[in-house]
Amino acid sequence: MSRDHDPPVAPVEERWPAISFQERMDTATFDVHERAHIVVDGAVCRDCSTRDCVVACPANLFVPTSDGGIVFNYEQCFECGTCYLVCNREGAISWSYPEGGHGVIFRRT
C-alpha cells in the first residue's frame, strides 16, 4: 500500500483542542498569599548563561527580560522545588513554602 492511500491523520493541533499555557495552568487551583514564598535575585541571574530554571519550571514562572535579567511570578507555583535544584547560582533563589493553607491545591473528586 502506498502512502498516498493512507487515511489522513489530522495534525496534532486538531486532535486536541488548542490550549494555551495559561489555560493549562488555569486547570490547577491556587490560593495565592500576598507574600511571595520564592524570591529570585535578578542581579545574581544577570550573568547566568544556562538559565536552567526558565526551561525546567513546569509552571513556566521564570521569564527572561530584555535587559538580561529574570522575572519570577510566584502566584501559580506547584511548589515542586525544581528551580532551586537546577539553579547553579548561589543565592539566586530563596525558596520556602507558602503560608499554611495557601499555594497550589490539587482537587478532591
Binding site: 490560593d31 544556562t50 506547584f78 535544584l85
Partner: protein, 439 residues
C-alpha cells in the same frame, strides 16, 4: 543526668499528613500517645500528586479490609511495559484477573482523595490534625536535640518529645537537622502530568477493560531525548498521561516539560488512547529518584524521617513505587517512636529500632537489592540506544521483504547492534548488570 522529663505540648509532632505521616500518626495514636499531625495544605493530599499507582497491601495490618473503603479509581488488571522510539513501539502486556479481586494488587487513586482518607484514619485513631499549618523550622534544646517545630500559626512554636519529619521530597526539616548532606539535582526527577477527562465507556473501550478494572502503561523512551520515562494510567473517567524527567538532562536539553508531554501524546502508540479528551488538571512534583545512593541518615536525637522526606521512593525501572514505601516507613517510624516514648528514650540511640525495622522489611531490602537500578535505568544506553536496538530488531524479524528470504536472527542482532552504536562488550556488561540488579 537524672532530671525529670521536661514538659512538652504533646508526645509527638508529625509534619506532613501524606501517606507516611498519616500511617505514623495511626501507629502512635493507637499506642495511646498524644499526637499532632501538621499539614501545610488546606486538607491532607492537597499538595500531593504522583504518577499514579498505589500498592496498599502494607495497610492490611493498619486498616484491615482497606479495599472496601479506600477511594480507589480503578484496580490495575493490565500492566504494560512499553518501549518507544519516534516511529515505533513495543509492549509487554500482562493481564491478570486475580488483580480484580481482594486483596488486589495496584490501584489508581487521586492523591487528594487517598491522602485525605488515610488522614481520616489518623484522626479516628486519636491524632489531632492541624491543616493550613506550615512547619517553618526545628526547635532544639541546648544540646542540639530536636524538641519541636516552629510553625506559621499565630501561636507559633509546638514542642514534643519526638518529631517525625514526613514533610515530603523537599524535606527542609531533615536538611535543617543535618540528615541530608546536600540535595543534588542529579538525584531527582520532575514528574509532570495531564489528567484528561473522558466518558467512562470510552476509557473502557480504548483500554480494553470493564467496571473497575484499570490499566498501567509504563514507558521507556518518548521523553524527547531527556532521560526519564513516560506513563499512562486509567482512572474512572480520566486518563493520566505524563513524563518523569531527570533534572539535569531536562535543563540541558532546553525542552520544556509540557512540550515533552505533548510529544508523548502525539506518538502513534499513545495518541489513539487519549485524543479528544478535555484537560482537567495539569500538575507537577519532584521525585527522589536515586534510591539507595541518596538515602539520608534516618534518625537524630528527638527526630525520625520517613517517606519521600527520607528518599524512600523506589524508581527501579520496571518497579515504580512510592506511596507503599511512604506508608510502611511511616508506620515503622510511628511504631519505633511509640516504643521510644514508652521507654522514655527518644535519643538517636533510643530510635535505633527504626532502621532495624526498615532493614528487615521490604522498605530497605528492596532498596538495597535494587540499589544499582536507578543508575542503570536512567543511563544513556538504556534510555536512548536500547529502545532503538530492540524495536529495529523486532521490526526486521516481522517485516516480510519478499522476494528476499528472512535474515537470521543472529545477523539481524549483529547488524542492528552496530547501527544503534552499541558495543558488544557494553551489551554484555549491561546485560550482566541487569541480571545482578533485577535477578
Amino acid at each position: 543526668m537524672a532530671d525529670a522529663a521536661p514538659q512538652r505540648d504533646v508526645d509527638a509532632i508529625i509534619v506532613g499528613a501524606g501517606p507516611a505521616g498519616s500511617c505514623a500518626a495511626i501507629a502512635l495514636a493507637r499506642a495511646g500517645h498524644r499526637v499532632v499531625l501538621l499539614e501545610r495544605g488546606p486538607f491532607p493530599g492537597s499538595k500531593n500528586m504522583y504518577g499514579g499507582v498505589v500498592y496498599p497491601r502494607i495497610l492490611d495490618s493498619l486498616i484491615p479490609g482497606w479495599w472496601d473503603e479506600a477511594p480507589v479509581q480503578r484496580w490495575i488488571t493490565r500492566r504494560s511495559t512499553m518501549v518507544l522510539t519516534d516511529t515505533s513501539s513495543m509492549s509487554i502486556d500482562f493481564r491478570n484477573d486475580a488483580w480484580a479481586r481482594p486483596p488486589y494488587n495496584g490501584a489508581t487513586a487521586y492523591r487528594p482523595d487517598f491522602d485525605f482518607w488515610l488522614a481520616g484514619h489518623a484522626e479516628s485513631a486519636g491524632a489531632e490534625l492541624l491543616c493550613s499549618t506550615t512547619a517553618t523550622g526545628l526547635l532544639r534544646d541546648g544540646a542540639g536535640r530536636v524538641i519541636g517545630v516552629r510553625t506559621d500559626r499565630p501561636d507559633g512554636d509546638l514542642t514534643a518529645h519526638i518529631v517525625l519529619a514526613c514533610d515530603g521530597v523537599n524535606s527542609f526539616l531533615s536538611k535543617e537537622a543535618g540528615l541530608y548532606q546536600h540535595a543534588e539535582a542529579k538525584n531527582f526527577t520532575l514528574g509532570v502530568k495531564e489528567t484528561i477527562g473522558f466518558p467512562k465507556e470510552i476509557i473502557d473501550e480504548r483500554f480494553g477493560v470493564r467496571g473497575r478494572e484499570g490499566v498501567d502503561i509504563e514507558i521507556l523512551g518518548g521523553t524527547g531525548g531527556v532521560n526519564g520515562g513516560g506513563f499512562v494510567y486509567t482512572n474512572l473517567d480520566t486518563v493520566s498521561v505524563g513524563v518523569v524527567l531527570k533534572l539535569p538532562k531536562l535543563a540541558a536539553q532546553q525542552r520544556r516539560p509540557e512540550e515533552i508531554i505533548a510529544g508523548l501524546k502525539a506518538h502513534s502508540a499513545i495518541a489513539p488512547l487519549i485524543e479528544g479528551g478535555e484537560l482537567k488538571e495539569y500538575s507537577a512534583h519532584l521525585i527522589p529518584e536515586a534510591g539507595w545512593s541518596m538515602l539520608p541518615k534516618l534518625t537524630t536525637d528527638g527526630m525520625l524521617v520517613a517517606g519521600d522526606a527520607a528518599a524512600l521512593c523506589l524508581a527501579a525501572g520496571i518497579w515504580l513505587e512510592g506511596v507503599n514505601f511512604a506508608m510502611a516507613s511511616g508506620m515503622y517510624a510511628g511504631q519505633t517512636a511509640a516504643d521510644a516514648l514508652r521507654r522514655g528514650d527518644t535519643s538517636e540511640a533510643g530510635l535505633g529500632g527504626y532502621e532495624r525495622r526498615l532493614a528487615s522489611t521490604f522498605v530497605l531490602r528492596d532498596h538495597r537489592k535494587l540499589r544499582r537500578a536507578p543508575e542503570l535505568v536512567l543511563s544513556d544506553r538504556v534510555q536512548h540506544r536500547y529502545p532503538q536496538l530492540v524495536t529495529s530488531v523486532v521490526e526486521r524479524m516481522f517485516q516480510v521483504d519478499n522476494p528476499l528470504p528472512k535474515p537470521g536472527l543472529r545477523r539481524i542482532l549483529a547488524q542492528e547492534r552496530k547501527r544503534a552504536g552499541v558495543r558488544r562488550r557494553d551489551l554484555v556488561r549491561d546485560g550482566w548488570a541487569g541480571l545482578r540488579t533485577f535477578g
